[in-house]
Symmetry: C2
Subunit: 328 residues, 2 copies
C-alpha cells in the first residue's frame, strides 16, 4: 500500500484553534504598575493581582473535506520552538503541515505550554526561574548541527557549515526569528496538557520533533488505545525502560528518523543513547519499530531540522509511506 499522490490544492472542511489543559490561578502581592495601552492613550493603572490562566496549550487544526484517513496527525514541536516549524521552511518551501494535508491527512499543530500562542505565566510567582533564550551559536552548532564547534560567526560570510549541509543556510536569520524563549521548569505541565489533547481525540498519530519526542512517547504510554502510531524526528529524550513498560505499546508502531553529524555534538552524544534504549525496549516488547538513520541509507547532510532541510519533502514522503504501510 502506497501513500496517495499529493495534489497541489486541498479542500478544507474546517479550520480553527483552541487551548487545552491549564487552570485558573489567583495571584496576590504583585506590585501596582502603570502603562499606556495604545499610542496616544492616557497612562492607566494596571492591577496585576487576581485570577489568570496558566498551564494551557494551544492547538490549531485543519480538517479536510475528504481525508484519506479518519486519524489526524498531531504535530508537536521541539525545544525553544513553536508549531510554526511545521508550517513552512525558512526559505519559503511548504512545511510538513501542508505536505501532510496535501497527502490527505487532517493535521493538528500545537504550541506547547509556555511557547508561542500558549502564553506563559508570571515569574517567579508561577514559573520559579527566568526564561532561556536561544543564541545563534547554540543553534548553529550544538542543537541543529549546521556546522561543527567554532564554525558559527557573526558575519555570514565567515560561517562554516558541514560540507553538504542540507539546511537552507542563507535563511539562517529567518530560522532564528522562529525561535522562542523557553523555561526548564514546565515538563510536568507540558506533559499534562499533551495528555489532555490526546484524551480529547478519538484517535491520533503523533509526530514529534526533538524535545517533543519525550512528551509524545509518554503520551502514547498514557493512552495506547488512542495513539495509532508514533513518528519521532530526532527525539531528544525517551521513557526509561526500567520505569515504563514498553509492552503497553504493543499495537502502536514507532518510527524514528535521524540526520547526520550527531557525533559532532556533545548534546546529541549525551541524549541519543536514551532514545536508543527505548527503541530497543519497544522492539523487544514486540512493537513494530522502524529506525531510519539517513546517512546509513546514503542520505547525508541532514541537520536536526529535518522538516526544514532541502530534502524535507523527501523525508516527509518516507513518513507518509510508513504511515500508509500501517494502514494510516
Amino acid at each position: 500500500m502506497s501513500a496517495a499522490p499529493p495534489s497541489d490544492t486541498f479542500t478544507v472542511r474546517d479550520m480553527g484553534s483552541f487551548h487545552i489543559g491549564g487552570e485558573i490561578v489567583s495571584l496576590a502581592g504583585m506590585p501596582q504598575r502603570h502603562r499606556i495601552s495604545t499610542p496616544g492613550g492616557p497612562v492607566r493603572p494596571i492591577e496585576q493581582n487576581g485570577e489568570m490562566a496558566v498551564g494551557q496549550m494551544y492547538v490549531q487544526y485543519v480538517r479536510l473535506a475528504a481525508p484519506r484517513s479518519p486519524v489526524p496527525v498531531l504535530m508537536w514541536h521541539g525545544g525553544g520552538m513553536t508549531g510554526a516549524n511545521w508550517e513552512g521552511t525558512p526559505d519559503g518551501r511548504p512545511g510538513w503541515q501542508t505536505i501532510f494535508l496535501r497527502a490527505g491527512l487532517d493535521v493538528f499543530v500545537s504550541d506547547a505550554v509556555e511557547r508561542g500562542r500558549a502564553g506563559f505565566a508570571p515569574s517567579p510567582e508561577i514559573y520559579p526561574e527566568a526564561p532561556f533564550f536561544r543564541t545563534a551559536e547554540e543553534a548553529w552548532t550544538e542543537v541543529f548541527r549546521f556546522g561543527p564547534h567554532g564554525s558559527y560567526h557573526k558575519d555570514p560570510a565567515l560561517r562554516r557549515a558541514y560540507p553538504g549541509c542540507r539546511f537552507p543556510l542563507k535563511d539562517f536569520d529567518a530560522f532564528m526569528k522562529s525561535c522562542v524563549p523557553r523555561w526548564s521548569c514546565n515538563d510536568e505541565r507540558t506533559q499534562t496538557a499533551y495528555d489532555a489533547l490526546v484524551a480529547r481525540m478519538d484517535h491520533c498519530v503523533l509526530l514529534m520533533h526533538s524535545q517533543g519526542g519525550s512528551f509524545g512517547f509518554h503520551a502514547a504510554l498514557h493512552a495506547p488505545e488512542k495513539v495509532k502510531a508514533v513518528m519521532a524526528l530526532e527525539p531528544s529524550g525517551a521513557p526509561d525502560p526500567t520505569v515504563e513498560d514498553a509492552g503497553r505499546l504493543a499495537g502502536v508502531p514507532h518510527l524514528f528518523i535521524w540526520g547526520d553529524h550527531l557525533g559532532g555534538s556533545e548534546f546529541w552524544v549525551q541524549y541519543r543513547p536514551n532514545v536508543e534504549r527505548w527503541a530497543d525496549a519497544l522492539a523487544k516488547a514486540g512493537v513494530p519499530v522502524e529506525w531510519i538513520d539517513l546517512p546509513a541509507r546514503g542520505i547525508t547532510g541532514n541537520s536536526h531540522a529535518l522538516m526544514m532541510d532541502d530534502n524535507s519533502d523527501e523525508i516527509a514522503r518516507m513518513a507518509l509511506d510508513w504511515l500508509s504501510g500501517h494502514g494510516l
Copy 2:
C-alpha cells in the same frame, strides 16, 4: 454588489507562515546558567551570551485556489492577544479567518512583536520592563465589557454580566487561556514590523481589533498605495489629526464597528474619543468612512470581543458586504 455566499468548504492553494521585521542583536554579560533540556537528560550549561533575534513578527497565510479578490485581508489582533483570536471563538464556532476564507478572500493572520509565535526578547537587556499579565477581572469588566465594574467573581455562578451580553460566557475560562502576556515598551518595534509586512504585500486590506487599530491606521498612512481598505473593530487608538495628514488616505475607505456598553468602562470612555477625532478627520478629508455603532442599529449586547460574540458571523457579514461595496 453583494458578497458571494459562503460555502462550507474552501480549496487552498497554499498555506504557511513566516517571520518579518526584527534584527539580530548581540548580548553580553548574561549569567551562565544550567538546565535539563528533556526529561531524563543530563544537566547542561547554557550560554546566554551571543546573538539572538528580536523585534520580529509572525505571519501565517492561507491562500485560496480561486479567491474572489486578488487582495488579501491582513488580520491584526488586540492587546494581550494573538492571531488565535481570528481562528475561532471560545465556544468553538468558526473564527473570522474561516468566515473570510469561505467568503473567498485570502487571509494573513499575524502575531505582533512580543506576542505568541513572534517570540519575545530578554528583559531588562532588550525590553526594559517586565511583562504584564491579564487578569480575569480586567478582561471581564474594563477591557472586554462582559459586565459592569464589580461584576466579576471567582465563582462562575456569582459573576454578573450585562443583560443580553453576547459573549459566550460559559467559555470565559477558554477565552482567558487565549490571552498572552504583553509589554508596553514595544510600540515602535511593532509598528516597524507591521509596516514591513504591508511593504511585502502587493496590496492588502487591513482588519484590526482593539490595540491593533492604531498600528493599522498608521500602517495605512505609511503605505496608502498598498492598503485598499481599513476595517477596525473597536480600535483603542488612532493617529492624531494635528500630526498626521488624513488626506493621504483619500482613496482608502475606512470601516469602524463598535459594540455596546462603552460608557460603563473608564478605559473606553478615555480611549474612544481619539478614534472619533481621527474618523472625523478622515471624513473631512474625503475618505469614505463608515461608522457602525451596533446599538444605534438595534443590535445590542455586543462586547469588545466582536469576533467572538454570538453574532460574530453577522458582524463578519457586515464587514464582508462593506468590502464588496468597495469592490474588494
